[in-house]
Amino acid sequence: MRFGLKAYIGLFMLFLYAPTLLLPVFAFNDSTIVAFPLSGLTFKWMAALRDTAALHSATLNSLFIAVTTATLATMLGILAARASARYKFPGRGPIMGFIMIPMALPEIIIGVSLLVVLLQMGFNLSLWAIILGHVLICTPFAIAILRSAFQRLDPSMEEASLDLGHSRFATFMQITLPLIMPAVISSFLISFTISLDEFVIAFFLSGTEPTLPVYIWGQLRFPRKIPSIMALGTLLLLLSLCILVFAEYVRRRGARKTGIEDQGGMW
């Protein structure tokens, strides 16, 4: 039984990570065919990434969309999370429910409906159309993260600041925001990550400016391009690891600085 459980965990981990670990292996393999045995070390796939202009513009598009989406979703998230954690107002339950639904809604529905509505309203498809869709799916995650931060925040912190003569805005900037900062950063990073690798909405709304996932999908039609996709995947993997480490560092530092007991991370 013990052995069985261990074997199960081992297999699970293998299934989870082995495909990912193949990315860096083939990214430096000197062959256009993705197969063993390996045929030697090369950096030409990485060099190819450097020299592909279309890839650069797709990357810039994706970064622009992800940063804008993360910023907007986090700002909207702060507003909604504070309102729902602090105030009782009529219809709070249903309103919050409807805001959170896109978390579970199939992206293809959001993609198709936004496409139809935007075209009917006479808007051109653009990066902003994708941002609109991404904000819609990221905001619920931002709210979920930020709401628990607001719920943990002692309401007398804000009252104490008001009591000591500061305005509501000054209180928000000097007390509330610093105290929820770890959650703000978490929310930003999660939204950033979701937006960066989102495919379906981006595919429907991208028009003539592809995002990175849409670009990668396009390249898969050419078997010769697959090794450079592997190289690109390796870079994205590194970027995700960096984001993860940074997020965890921020969270722990926040917990230590405010003396709040470590309550376990997002990941």
Partner: protein
């Protein structure tokens, strides 16, 4: 001392259908240590938060130092508050916490540092400025919270159950320290507490609150010796209640017959106005004595039987069933040298004085 600092007029506060403050009116004088005492849910904290500006009453008016506070937000009121949780900002140092209220006033760094250091010294935390706020103990947080509020020289300092989170020893220390601090700064303190002992020890005057109303507002001595009704009497210390009848009443004198104790002549200030017929006589356990041989004569005596004796070191607590009654009374005796500790079943003679009795509505 006689000038009113806070005037509350007909304050009503509802939360939905719940009537949290019922037509509360009172005056808090300048420079006094005033306590709001009552069980949880009696509205004392709501009243304090109304003074601070965190709650808006549906009707009634509130004035601080003569200025009406209608529509004045918390950050514009001449009050500062010490919160129950202390609300020390965890992302700031002790000095930054204390200086927080002075941030809006542009002042030279050296001047600011001097004032912060003085404020910290005032609460016994000289030299703690550079510490991280979250590394402090409960008592130290309490002091930082006090320093942070007092540095702004408010007209009124509001304290919301400030000692409830401290352990017993620390609480007793802080009680006398707060009292001394209040005398030395001369600021009006309004304290909210559910601890009757704390209210008696610290306050110049106490307002006892039940169900959103002030039941009695009096000095600690008055409150203890002349409670206005059974509820107040029961909340402040403990009291024996015996049924009694008013037998005759003339100018300044009132004669009663108390079940188990017998008749007594009381002065009129021991009874609520217009008392006649069946009433309730209250007498504190420590104001009755179990008579021992060789005691000086007592004004009144009554006989009974000890049904329970509880020895507690410095005191012994007896339950005595007085002859002709069905409910025992509590009698507490200090264990002085030479006094015997009596056992259950012993007969005992109770000595008492008519000035120890207070008549209450039945």
């Amino acid at each position: 001392m006689s000038k009113p600092m806070i005037q509350l007029e007909h304050i009503n506060k509802y939360y939905g259908n719940y009537h949290a403050l019922r037509d509360v009116s009172c005056e808090i004088k300048e420079g006094e240590f005033f306590s709001l005492l009552g069980p949880s849910g009696c509205g004392k904290t709501t009243l304090l938060r109304t003074i601070a500006g965190f709650e808006t009453p549906q009707s009634g008016h509130l004035a601080i130092d003569g200025a009406v506070m209608d529509g004045v937000p918390a950050n514009k009121r001449p009050t500062n508050m010490v919160f129950q949780s202390y609300a020390i900002f965890p992302h700031m140092s002790v000095a930054e916490n204390v200086a927080y209220g002075l941030r809006r006033q542009r002042m030279p760094k050296a001047e600011l540092r001097k004032r912060v250091e003085a404020a910290l010294a005032n609460v016994g935390l000289a030299g703690y400025g550079d510490r991280a706020a979250h590394a402090l103990s409960g008592g130290q947080r309490q002091r930082v919270s006090l320093a942070r509020a007092l540095i702004l020289k408010p007209k009124v300092l509001l304290l919301d159950e400030p000692l409830s989170a401290l352990d017993k020893k620390m609480r007793e220390n802080m009680q006398s320290e707060l009292r001394h601090l209040q005398r030395s700064v001369g600021i009006t303190f309004v304290l909210v507490t559910h601890d009757q002992e704390e209210a008696l020890i610290m306050s110049d005057r106490v307002a006892v609150m039940f169900d959103g109303e002030i039941a009695q507002l009096a000095t600690p001595q008055e409150l203890y010796s002349r409670p206005i009704n059974r509820k107040v009497a029961d909340f402040i210390g403990s009291m024996n209640f015996l049924s009694a009848d008013v037998t005759s009443q003339s100018s300044g004198k009132i004669s009663v017959s108390i079940a188990g104790l017998g008749g007594a002549d009381l002065t009129i200030d021991q009874a609520p106005a217009g008392t006649t017929g069946a009433v309730c006589a209250g007498i504190r356990p420590e104001l009755m004595t179990i008579v021992a041989t060789g005691d000086a004569a007592h004004e009144h005596t009554a006989d009974g039987k000890i049904i329970e004796a509880q020895y507690c070191g410095d005191m012994t607590y007896y339950d005595v069933l007085l002859d002709g009654t069905t409910e025992p009374v509590s009698v507490s005796m200090r264990n002085t040298s030479g006094r015997a500790i009596l056992k259950e079943g012993n007969t005992a003679q109770i000595g008492w004085g008519s000035d120890s009795v207070v008549l209450l509505p039945a």
